[in-house]
C-alpha cells in the first residue's frame, strides 16, 4: 500500500476531529479483558520469561530451524518458498495461483500479506479477492487498509458498517438495512458462505511455524481461517521468517500468551495446526499446500540494535495500551502496522525518510513494554530510531540546532548554570502572578492547545545550594 506516514501530524489532526473515528475508538474493550485473564494466571511473568528465552534461542539458530521447518513441510508433501523482498513474495503467490489456474481467492487475515502488498498484486493480476475475516471484509468493502493488527475495522462504527452492507449487499438480494450486531454478523456469514464455496485458492497468515512437525499454527476466533485453508483446492500461507518455533511444546508457551494479550481470552476459539496438503485418503482439505516465507529486512535486524523487534508475535497489546494510538487510531500511522510496534517496524521496512515521525509520536510512558508478552523494549527501540534519524541528518533543523545548543551547554556546567538561572528567573518574572503563559516564543506548538506553566523562579541548583546552606 502507498504509505502516508510522512504526514502523520496532519493525519493525526484530522483523526482527532473525526467524530465517527473517535466514537469507534471509545469502544476499545481489550484492556479490561486482558487484565482479568493475566491477573488470573500466577505463572504469567514466568511464561513471559520462558517465551523470550525460547525466541532468543530460536533467533540465534534461525537458519537451522527454518531449514528444519522446510524439511518437514516437504516430507508431508507441502512446498516452501523463500522470498527476500515484498516483490518476490507477491510474485511467488501470483505464480502459485497461475500454475493452479486459480481465479477466485479467499483470504484470511495476514499482516505479512498486507506488508508485502498481496492485495495490490492480486488486483493487478485481475484475480478475484474476498476477505473472510469480518473486520477485513468490512474494510475491503470500504476500500481501506486495516487500522489495527487484530481488529482491522475497529475504526468503523456500527452505523457505518450498516451503510456499507446496505450499499454492497443489495446485489446479494439483501435490501433491508441491518442495524443490530447479530444481524450484521449473520448477513456477512450468509454472503461470505458462497464466496468460501466458490474459491479456487485460500491465502492465510501463520501465527507460528513449528519446525518439529512442519506445521503452520493459525489462531482465529471466527473460523474463517479454517474454512479458507480447508475448502479451496490450494492453500497458501504467508509468514515472516521470525515466526518459526522449534517444537509443539514451545508453541504452547506462546499460545498461552497470545490470546490473553490480544483479546483477553485464555485461548482463541480456533487454533489449527496444518501439516502439508490433504492426504490421499482424506475427503477434504487443500490438495496443494504452500508456505511463503518472507524476509523483507528481518534477517538484517538479527543481532543489530533492533533485534528485539523480531520477538513480536503480533498480539496488538501495545496498540491497545498506547495513549497515542487510542487518540488517533491506526490509519494516522499511514502504513500496515500502527501503534508502538508499528512505529518501530514501519521505519525499518519503508525507511525513516518516509516514517520518521512515527518513533517521535510517543510519550515514553512505557505501558507498551510493560504489557508486551515478549518483553520488547519498544520505547528504547523508538529512541534508537530517533538517534538513527538524527545521525542520518533526517531530524528537523530546529531540532538539530536545539540539540547542538543543549549539547554544548550540558558539557559546560558554568555556562549551563548561568543561562538557566537567567532564563528561569526571566520566565518567572514575565509570567507575573498568573504562573502560566498563554503564548510563549519557540513554544507555540505547546501554547496553541494549552498554557505553559511558568517556572517557580529558581533553578534546581540554586534551591539545592540554599538548602545546603540551611543544613549547615
Amino acid at each position: 500500500m502507498k504509505a502516508t506516514s510522512s504526514t502523520f501530524r496532519q493525519n493525526s489532526r484530522e483523526a482527532l476531529l473525526d467524530d465517527d473515528l473517535q466514537q469507534a475508538l471509545s469502544k476499545m474493550g481489550f484492556l479490561g479483558a486482558r487484565k482479568r485473564v493475566v491477573d488470573a494466571l500466577p505463572e504469567w511473568e514466568e511464561l513471559r520469561t520462558t517465551a523470550r528465552e525460547i525466541k532468543e534461542h530460536t533467533l540465534a539458530h534461525l537458519d537451522f530451524y527454518l531449514e528444519e521447518f522446510e524439511k518437514n513441510v516437504r516430507a508431508n508433501g507441502g512446498h516452501v518458498h523463500w522470498c527476500s523482498t515484498p516483490e518476490d513474495a507477491s510474485a511467488t503467490v501470483l505464480s502459485i495461483l497461475k500454475e493452479a489456474g486459480a481465479r477466485k481467492v479467499i483470504k484470511g487475515k495476514s499482516m505479512a500479506g498486507e506488508e508485502v502488498g498481496i492485495n495490490e498484486a492480486l488486483e493487478a493480476a485481475a484475480i478475484d479477492r474476498l476477505e473472510t475475516d469480518l473486520g477485513e471484509y468490512i474494510i475491503q468493502l470500504a476500500d481501506e487498509p486495516p487500522s489495527h493488527i487484530i481488529a482491522p475495522a475497529i475504526h468503523k462504527t456500527k452505523a457505518q458498517i450498516t451503510e456499507l452492507f446496505h450499499d454492497h449487499h443489495q446485489v446479494h438480494g439483501k435490501t433491508e438495512r441491518v442495524t443490530e450486531v447479530a444481524s450484521i454478523v449473520n448477513e456477512a456469514r450468509e454472503v461470505l458462505r458462497d464466496g468460501f464455496l466458490a474459491a479456487d485458492a485460500g491465502i492465510t497468515g501463520g501465527n507460528f511455524l513449528v519446525a518439529e512437525t512442519g506445521s503452520v499454527a493459525l489462531v482465529t476466533n471466527e473460523g474463517n481461517g479454517d474454512l479458507t485453508s480447508t475448502l479451496p483446492r490450494v492453500h497458501i500461507v504467508t509468514a515472516g521468517i521470525e515466526k518459526v518455533v522449534p517444537t509443539l511444546d514451545d508453541l504452547s508457551v506462546y499460545l498461552r500468551l497470545l490470546a490473553r494479550s490480544a483479546t483477553g481470552q485464555e485461548m482463541s476459539v480456533y487454533t489449527t495446526l496444518t501439516t502439508g496438503p490433504r492426504r490421499a485418503v482424506d475427503l477434504d482439505g487443500a490438495a496443494e499446500f504452500h508456505v511463503v516465507l518472507i524476509d523483507n529486512g528481518r534477517s538484517q535486524w538479527l543481532g543489530n540494535e533492533f533485534h528485539e523487534m523480531l520477538r513480536c508475535i503480533r498480539c496488538g497489546a501495545c496498540l491497545n495500551h498506547c495513549p497515542v494510538w487510542n487518540s488517533v487510531g491506526g490509519h494516522a500511522y499511514g502504513w500496515v502496522y500502527s501503534g508502538p510496534m508499528g512505529s518501530v517496524l514501519t521505519p525499518l521496512m519503508i525507511g525513516l525518510e518516509e516514517a520518521g515521525q512515527l518513533p517521535n509520536a510517543c510519550t515514553m510512558n512505557g505501558r507498551c513494554q510493560s504489557v508486551c508478552p515478549m518483553s520488547i523494549p519498544l520505547p528504547s527501540l523508538m529512541r534508537r530510531l530517533r538517534f538513527r534519524q538524527h545521525d542520518q541528518g533526517l531530524s528537523g533543523l530546529g531540532t538539530r540546532i536545539a540539540l547542538a545548543v543543549w549539547g554544548f551547554m550540558a558539557t559546560q556546567p558554568r555556562c549551563y548554570r548561568l543561562v538557566t538561572r537567567v532564563g528561569i528567573g526571566l520566565l518567572g518574572l514575565l509570567s507575573g502572578t498568573r504562573g502560566r503563559f498563554r503564548r510563549l516564543l519557540f513554544a507555540e506548538a505547546w501554547t496553541e492547545e494549552r498554557d505553559f506553566p511558568a517556572p517557580a523562579g529558581e533553578t534546581f541548583m540554586g534551591a539545592w545550594k540554599k538548602a545546603a546552606r540551611g543544613r549547615k
Binding site: K27, E43, F64, A151, T157, I241, M267, G285, G303
Partner: protein, 218 residues
C-alpha cells in the same frame, strides 16, 4: 536462490560464515527429538471438572453419556431441546461410526453439504486447562464437519480429557501415522468482536458447540 540469500544474510547477522558446526546442530536436533516440557499453568481441580467449567465459560455446552446407544440418546436430547431437525451428518470414527441411531434420524456420513445443520464427530482428546476439544482430520472425520454446520456435537471419551496441551502433543507424537493434515483445537463456538467490540457468536463456524463426555464406567 532466495533461500541461499536469506540463509547467508541470517548467518552474516549471526556472525557465522556457514551452517552451524555439527556439534551444535546435533544438540539442536536432540532438543527437537525430546522436546523440553516448559512451565504449565497449575490447577487443582480434576481434569473433567475443569474441562466442563472452562468449556461452559466460553459458551459451550456439555452432556454426559455412555458410548454407543448413549451417544444416540444424548444427540436426540440435544436436537429435541433445541427444536432442531432430526438430521445429522456424522463422522465414521471409532466413537461415532458404530452408534445405533434411531430410525427417525436421517444420518449422513462424510463431508457435509453447505445446508447441513448439525454434525457429530469424535474427538482425539480434550484439554482441561482451557476447555478445548482436539479434532484430527482423517478419511473418517473430514475437517469440514467441524466448521460448516451451525451446530457441532463433539463426543470425547472421559479418559481422553487431559490436563494440558502438552499431553496432546505427546499423544500425537505416538501416533503411528504422524501428524494428520489438520489438528483443530476448538475452544467454544465461533465468535467475532469486529463490530464495535461487541461479542457475537456464530461468525463463520458453528454457532453452538456441544460436547458429550463419554464414560462407560458410570
Amino acid at each position: 536462490m532466495s533461500k541461499h540469500d536469506i540463509l547467508s544474510r541470517i548467518r552474516t547477522s549471526l556472525n557465522r560464515n556457514g551452517p552451524l558446526p555439527n556439534g551444535v546442530s546435533a544438540g539442536l536436533r536432540a532438543r527437537l527429538a525430546t522436546p523440553a516440557l516448559h512451565l504449565r499453568p497449575a490447577f487443582s481441580e480434576q481434569a473433567v471438572e475443569r474441562f466442563v467449567e472452562k468449556l461452559q465459560g466460553v459458551a459451550g455446552s456439555v452432556d454426559h453419556c455412555k458410548a454407543g446407544l448413549g451417544i444416540a440418546e444424548a444427540v436426540q436430547r440435544y436436537l429435541d431441546e433445541r427444536d432442531l431437525a432430526q438430521e445429522i451428518v456424522v463422522s465414521t470414527d471409532e466413537l461415532i461410526g458404530d452408534v445405533p441411531w434411531s430410525n427417525q434420524m436421517r444420518v449422513k456420513h462424510g463431508r457435509p453439504d453447505p445446508h447441513d445443520k448439525t454434525s457429530v464427530t469424535g474427538a482425539f482428546a480434550a484439554i482441561a486447562e482451557t476447555g478445548t476439544v482436539v479434532l484430527l482430520s482423517s478419511p473418517e472425520s473430514p475437517t469440514t464437519l467441524n466448521l460448516l454446520p451451525e451446530n457441532h456435537i463433539v463426543a470425547v471419551r472421559r479418559e481422553h480429557i487431559v490436563r494440558h496441551q502438552e499431553d496432546v502433543w505427546r499423544a500425537l507424537r505416538q501416533r503411528p501415522d504422524g501428524m494428520p493434515r489438520t489438528v483443530n483445537l476448538i475452544t467454544g463456538p465461533s465468535r467475532t468482536g469486529d463490530v464495535e467490540q461487541v461479542l457475537q457468536l456464530g461468525a463463520h463456524g458453528p454457532r453452538q458447540l456441544h460436547v458429550l463426555v463419554v464414560n462407560d464406567d458410570a
